[in-house]
C-alpha cells in the first residue's frame, strides 16, 4: 500500500472517532481532554527550577504546585500521550518530516515569529477561558456548558476577524 501524505480520514468518521475518545475519557476519568493546561504547567515547572519563591507568590502558579511539582498532573501525562499518538500518526502516514509549514514565497523567519506570537496570544486566551479548543470548546462543548459554547462562538469570531490580516503567510 502506498502512503499518500495528503490523504486524511473522512472528516465525519474522524469526528466520530474523536468523539468516542472524548466519551471514553469522560467515562473513565470523570473529565474531558485538554492541552493548554499542560503547556502552562511545563512553563511553571521551568520557572520553579530557577525561582521557586516567585512561583509560590503568583496565585495561578502556586495553584499548580499542590502536589509538589506542577508536572504531577493528569493532563501533563495526557499531552505526553498526544506527542506519542501524533508522532505515530505522522510516522505511519508519511507526514513525519522536519520542516516549517508556510506559503512558498513567505520568509521562514517571519513564519516562525507568527507561530511564536500566535502561540503566546493563545496562551493568554486559554488561561482566561480555563481551557483551549480541546479543554473548553470540545470537552465543555460536548457537555453543553454555556461558557464552552460562548467560547466556541468567540473562537470562530476571533479567527474570522483576523484571518485576512495574516493570509500572506500561506502564499
Amino acid at each position: 500500500m502506498t502512503r499518500d501524505p495528503d490523504r486524511f480520514w473522512n472528516p465525519y468518521l474522524a469526528g466520530v472517532a474523536l468523539g468516542l475518545v472524548l466519551l471514553a475519557t469522560y467515562l473513565l476519568t470523570g473529565k474531558g481532554l485538554g492541552a493548554s493546561g499542560a503547556s502552562f504547567r511545563l512553563g511553571v515547572a521551568t520557572l520553579q527550577a530557577v525561582a521557586p519563591a516567585h512561583v509560590a507568590a503568583v496565585p495561578l502558579m502556586a495553584a499548580t504546585t499542590e502536589d509538589g511539582s506542577p508536572l504531577r498532573y493528569w493532563l501533563v501525562f495526557q499531552v505526553l500521550g498526544v506527542v506519542l499518538g501524533g508522532f505515530l500518526g505522522a510516522l505511519t502516514s508519511g507526514r513525519l518530516r522536519g520542516e516549517t509549514l508556510k506559503g512558498p514565497t513567505f520568509p521562514a523567519r517571519a513564519r516562525w515569529a507568527l507561530a511564536l506570537g500566535g502561540g503566546a496570544v493563545m496562551g493568554v486566551g486559554a488561561q482566561l477561558a480555563r481551557g483551549c479548543a480541546s479543554g473548553q470548546a470540545l470537552s465543555g462543548g460536548a457537555l453543553m456548558s454555556a461558557g464552552a459554547w460562548a467560547f466556541f462562538l468567540a473562537f470562530f469570531g476571533g479567527g474570522y476577524a483576523l484571518a485576512a490580516l495574516v493570509r500572506r503567510q500561506w502564499t
Partner: protein
C-alpha cells in the same frame, strides 16, 4: 452508576490513571493527526472558507460525545453531574479567551493541542507555537493579579444549555445533532461557492494548483 470510574480518575494520580492518561492522549493525538490537524494549512483553511474540515470534525465529535454522555446518563450508567461539575462558566473571560484563542489560531496556524501534534510530526512552526503557548500562559499568570476582577467575572457556576432551555440533556443533544447535519450541508455549499469564485478569478490570471 458505573461511570465515571474511580480507577482512572484524573485526580487519582495512580499508575493506572497516569497510564490511562497516556493511552487516551495517544488516541487523541493519533485521531487529530489523521484528521489533518497536524498541518497548519488544513487548519487555517477553515477561516478562508476553502476547507471546513475543522468545523466538521469538531462539531461531529461534540455531537458524538454529547449523545453518548446524555444517553448513558439517561439509562443510569453515567453520573452526568460528576463530570459537568468540572466545567463551570466564567462568561466574560471565556468570551475574551475565545476571541484570543481564535485570533492566535489564525496567526500561528494551530491551536494549543494541534500544535503539539504538529511538533511531534517534525514541524518547527508547530514547536514554536507550543513554546508561544507556554510563554503566553506564564506571562498571563504573572499579570493575572492585576486583572483578577475580570478573570473571575461572569462567574455563573455550572450552567448548561439544556438547563437554560428546560430540556432533558438527551433531547438537546438530539436537536444539536439534527442542526449539525444542516450546518454540514451549508458548509459544503460555502466551500463550493468559494471554489467557484476562486476559479473565476484565476481563469484570467496564471492558474495555481
Amino acid at each position: 452508576m458505573i461511570f465515571p470510574t474511580e480507577l482512572f480518575a484524573q485526580d487519582a494520580l495512580t499508575p493506572a490513571s497516569l497510564l490511562g492518561a497516556v493511552a487516551l492522549g495517544a488516541a487523541f493525538g493519533f485521531v487529530l493527526e489523521r484528521s489533518g490537524f497536524g498541518r497548519a494549512q488544513k487548519l487555517v483553511a477553515q477561516f478562508y472558507l476553502t476547507d471546513m474540515t475543522v468545523f466538521r470534525v469538531m462539531f461531529t465529535a461534540v455531537v458524538t460525545a454529547a449523545l453518548g454522555t446524555s444517553l448513558l446518563a439517561a439509562v443510569g450508567l453515567l453520573d452526568l453531574k460528576a463530570v459537568t461539575v468540572n466545567y463551570p462558566t466564567f462568561l466574560w473571560p471565556m468570551i475574551a479567551g475565545g476571541l484570543l484563542v481564535g485570533a492566535g489560531f489564525v496567526i500561528s496556524g494551530y491551536c494549543p493541542g494541534t500544535s503539539v501534534v504538529a511538533a511531534a510530526s517534525g514541524k518547527l512552526d508547530g514547536l514554536l507555537t507550543v513554546a508561544g503557548v507556554v510563554i503566553g500562559a506564564v506571562a498571563y499568570a504573572e499579570l493575572q493579579p492585576a486583572v483578577a476582577a475580570f478573570h473571575d467575572s461572569g462567574k455563573l457556576g455550572g450552567v448548561f444549555l439544556y438547563q437554560l432551555l428546560h430540556l432533558p440533556p438527551l433531547a438537546l443533544a438530539a436537536i444539536i445533532a439534527v442542526a449539525a447535519v444542516g450546518c454540514f450541508i451549508g458548509a459544503g455549499k460555502v466551500e463550493r461557492l468559494v471554489a467557484a469564485a476562486r476559479l473565476a478569478r484565476t481563469a484570467t490570471t496564471t492558474p495555481s494548483r
